[in-house]
Subunit: 417 residues, 2 copies
C-alpha cells in the first residue's frame, strides 16, 4: 500500500526538515556529487523530498532504487525454491562501480521490520545470504567508509502498526512519526544547528575514550560477565565523521552511539541480550552467548534460535565481533521506551555489540591499512554485520588498561564521568 | 501520486489477466529465467501482479526498477544545469550484463507521456541524449533481439487525464483502462488463446510480404509521395517471434503491426505525419520531411520543430530510417479514435516509419550477421529509435519489385488483398 500525501497523519513540514537533515547533515552531500538512494515504496513522499533536497544541494544525478514490501512477499509466496539462492549481483556490482566513481549513498528505512516473520526461515536466511554475498563489493565501500553515506527513517504505516498494534493505523503512524522526528532532532527551527551541537558532544566522548587507550572493556550485569579486547590502534568514533573521500557525514540519522572495533580474537565470558533483535523479519529474543577466544562457542535464544544459529554460521567472521558501541541508558531513544524492531533506532537506545564485519575506519590511520593489516590488529571480516543490544540501566562497564588498571566507564548504564 | 488498489476505477480481475498476458504471451518467460521490469510507481498495483505471475511461471529472480514521475520532475525543478548531461551508466551497464546472462526484460508504461511538456526543451533533449548513450549497451541486446522482451501498459491516472481532460480523473482512468484492456485482447476468458489467433493472422500477412520480396514501397496520400527502399534480405515480422535465445515472445502488448528494415540509403520524396508524435514529453505536430538518398534533407513541424530537429541531429543514423511498419486503418486501436500520446498504442493505430536504429532480426538469418554486414545490406544504426505515424484512411501503398512491377499492398489504408 502506498499512501497519498494528504493521508499522512503528521506535519509534512517536519518531513521537509528531515529530508534537509538527511541530505545536508546525514550525507554532507557535495556539489556535483552523484547519489544513490534505496527506498521502500511506502516512503515515496519522503524520497521525493530527499531527491529535491539533494538536487538543491547540487547533486549531479540522484538515482533511486525503490523496493516494495508486497513484491518482496510475492517472491516468498510464488517463486520456485531455486530463487532463494539468487540475488541481483549486476545491480549491486553497478552500485559498487558508482561508489567507486564518487557517488554517495542513502538508505531509507520505512517498511515493517517483521515483514518476513511468517515466511519459511530457511528461505529467508538463504535469500539473505545470497543478497549479502552479491552486495559485498558495494558494502565494502560503505563499511570501509570510502564514501559519505547515511541511513534515515520514514514512519511507514505497517512499521507503525507493528510498534503500536493496539491503536488505529493512522494513530500508530502519527506516533511513530513523532518518535522519528524527535530522535532525528527536528524539534526546533534549525535542526542543522541542533545536529552540530549533538555532534560536538559525541566528539568529546570519543576524545576521552581515545585518550584512555583501553586494552579491553569489562561488562557486568544480569547474565553478563564479559571481557572484550579492543583492537590494536582502535579509534572511537561517533556522530559526524570524515569519509575517505574527505566528506564529513553522519552515517545514521538518528545516532547516539560512540563505537570502535574490538579485537576479534579476544572476547571471553557470557553476554545476555537486553532487547530482542529483529533480523530480516525474524524476531530473535533472549540471546545468551558464551565467548571463548573471541568466538561464540555456545548460543541459546528463547525465540528464533535457529535464525541466530544460521546467522553466526554464515562464515568464520560471523561468530566473532566487529563492533562495540556505548550508548547511555538515558539517550532520547531509550527514554522513549519503545521497541522499534529496527536496528537504526534500537541500537541507539542501548550499548551494543555486532557480529561480523568491522569498520576499518575505527583504526588510527585506518584508510592506509590493508585488509591483512586490519586482521593483524584484530579487525574482523565477514559477509554480515548484525548489531544486538546488551545495555540497560543495570550494566556496569570498566575500561582496562594494558597494565590492568580499571577505570569506570559506565555505571548503571550511564557515563561514569 | 500513487493510488490504493481499492481506489482503482476498473475491474482488478482484468489487471490479473493483463499480468498473465504480459508474462506468458509478452515475454514467454521461461522457467528459471531472470526478469528485469522497469515500471513507474503509479503502476505498482500492476507491477505486483506481474512479479507474482513471473514467479508462478518459474522466474528465478524478478528485479523491478521503479521510476517516479514526481522525482523525474524534481530534477528539472531543482538540479544544477550540469545534471542534464548525466545518466546512471552503472545501472544500464548492469542491465546489459544481466541480459547477457539470460535475463528477460519487461517495460511497463503508465505515466503521463507529456510529463516533461513544460520543461526546458534543451534540458529534456540533453537528458534524453545522455540517457540514450548510457542505455546503448542494454538497448543493443533488445534491438538485436538477443533476449525475450515486452512492453505492456497500465492506465495511470495522469496519462488518462491527458487523454480525457474533460472528465473526472476517475472517469478518465476507467476509460483508459477499457481502451488498454480491449487493445490487449483481454475481453474473453482465455486471452492467451485470443493472442494465439491474433499472432497467426499477423504471421500470414508477414508470409505474404516475405514471398513478394519487394525492392521498395511507394506511399501516396495527402502531403506524401514517397519511395522507400527495403533492405537487402529484409524479413517482415509481426506479432510473436523468436528471440536469439530461442524464446518466442510478443515484444509489444498490444501489437497490430507488421514491420521490416528499410534501406537506410534509399528513401526519396516527401512524407507528412498523420498523427502528433509525443517524444520525451514534448509534442511534435505536423511533421513534414523530404528525404534524399535515405536522409532527411528538409524538415518542418507546426509544433515542437526544435525538438524534432535536435532529435534527427542526434547522430548520422538519426536522420535515416530504421523501421517501416504496416497497420490497417481499421485496427482496433485506430478504430478507438483515441490519441494515446504514447507510441506503444499510437504506432499500432497506423502505418509508421522510425528514425534511427534498425532491428537486425528483420533480416533473413539476421542473428548471424555482423554489424558491418547489416550496414552493407542497408540496415541503419543510431542511438535513437523513434516511430512516427504516416498512415490514414487516405494512404495508398504499392510494393515495387526489382523489375519495376507494382503490386497494390494497401488501398485507402486497408490491406489491398
Ligand atoms: Zn553500532
Ligand atoms: Zn553496527
Ligand atoms: Zn513499429
Ligand atoms: Zn519502432
Amino acid at each position: 500500500m502506498t499512501q497519498a500525501e494528504s493521508d499522512l497523519p503528521f506535519d509534512l513540514a517536519k518531513l521537509d526538515r528531515l529530508a534537509e537533515v538527511a541530505v545536508n547533515v546525514g550525507l554532507g552531500l557535495k556539489e556535483g556529487q552523484e547519489l544513490i538512494v534505496t527506498c521502500p515504496s511506502t516512503a515515496l513522499p519522503f524520497l521525493r523530498r530527499v531527491v529535491a533536497a539533494a538536487y538543491r544541494a547540487g547533486a549531479s544525478l540522484v538515482t533511486p532504487i525503490i523496493s516494495d514490501a508486497e513484491i518482496t512477499l510475492a517472491r516468498y509466496r510464488h517463486a520456485p525454491d531455486g530463487s532463494f539462492d539468487k540475488a541481483p549481483a549486476w545491480l549491486y556490482a553497478g552500485m559498487a562501480e558508482a561508489f567507486e566513481a564518487g557517488a554517495a549513498r542513502m538508505a531509507i528505512v520505512a517498511d515493517d521490520p517483521m515483514l518476513l516473520a511468517d515466511e519459511e526461515p530457511g528461505k529467508v536466511s538463504r535469500a539473505g545470504r545470497a543478497n549479502s554475498a552479491a552486495y559485498q563489493p558495494a558494502l565494502a565501500k560503505i563499511a570501509g567508509f570510502d564514501i559519505n553515506w547515511t541511513i534515515a527513517a520514514f514512519p511507514g504505516q505497517a512499521w507503525a502498526k507493528r510498534m503500536f498494534p493496539d491503536v488505529s493505523a493512522e494513530e500508530a503512524q502519527g506516533k511513530l512519526a513523532d518518535a522519528i522526528f524527535a530522535a532525528s532532532r527536528l524539534e526546533n527551527n534549525d535542526p542543522v544547528e541542533a545536529w552540530a551541537k549533538h555532534n560536538a558532544q559525541l566528539r568529546s566522548r570519543c576524545d576521552w575514550l581515545n585518550e584512555q587507550r583501553f586494552d579491553a572493556l569489562h561488562y557486568s550485569g544480569p547474565g553478563t560477565d564479559f571481557t572484550l579486547g579492543l583492537a590494536q590502534d582502535h579509534k572511537w568514533k561517533g556522530g559526524a565523521s570524515e569519509a575517505k573521500n574527505g566528506i564529513i557525514c553522519n552515517p545514521n540519522i538518528p545516532t547516539e552511539e560512540v563505537f570502535t572495533t574490538p579485537d576479534s580474537r579476544r572476547a571471553d565470558g557470557t553476554v545476555r541480550a537486553t532487547k530482542p533483535l529483529s533480523h530480516q523479519g525474524a524476531m530473535i529474543e533472549g540471546i545468551e552467548v558464551r565467548f571463548e577466544g573471541g568466538r561464540i562457542v555456545e548460543a541459546t535464544c528463547t525465540r528464533g534460535e535457529e535464525v541466530f544459529q544460521e546467522l553466526i554460521a554464515t562464515d568464520e567472521g560471523a561468530s566473532r565481533l566487529g563492533e562495540v558501541a556505548l550508548v547511555p541508558h538515558s539517550s532520547p531513544i531509550s527514554a522513549s521506551g519503545l521497541l522499534y524492531y529496527n536496528t537504526l533506532f534500537d541500537e541507539n537506545a542501548s550499548c551494543h555489540i555486532a557480529q561480523g564485519q568491522c569498520y576499518s575506519d575505527c583504526f588510527i590511520d585506518g584508510a592506509k591499512l590493508s585488509k591483512e593489516e586490519i586482521a593483524e590488529k584484530g579487525g574482523n571480516s565477514s559477509l554480515i554485520h548484525v548489531d544486538w543490544m546488551i545495555g540497560s540501566g543495570e550494566i556496569d562497564i570498566d575500561g582496562i588498561r594494558e597494565d590492568g588498571t580499571r577505570v569506570p566507564v559506565m555505571r548503571g548504564g550511564e557515563w561514569a564521568s
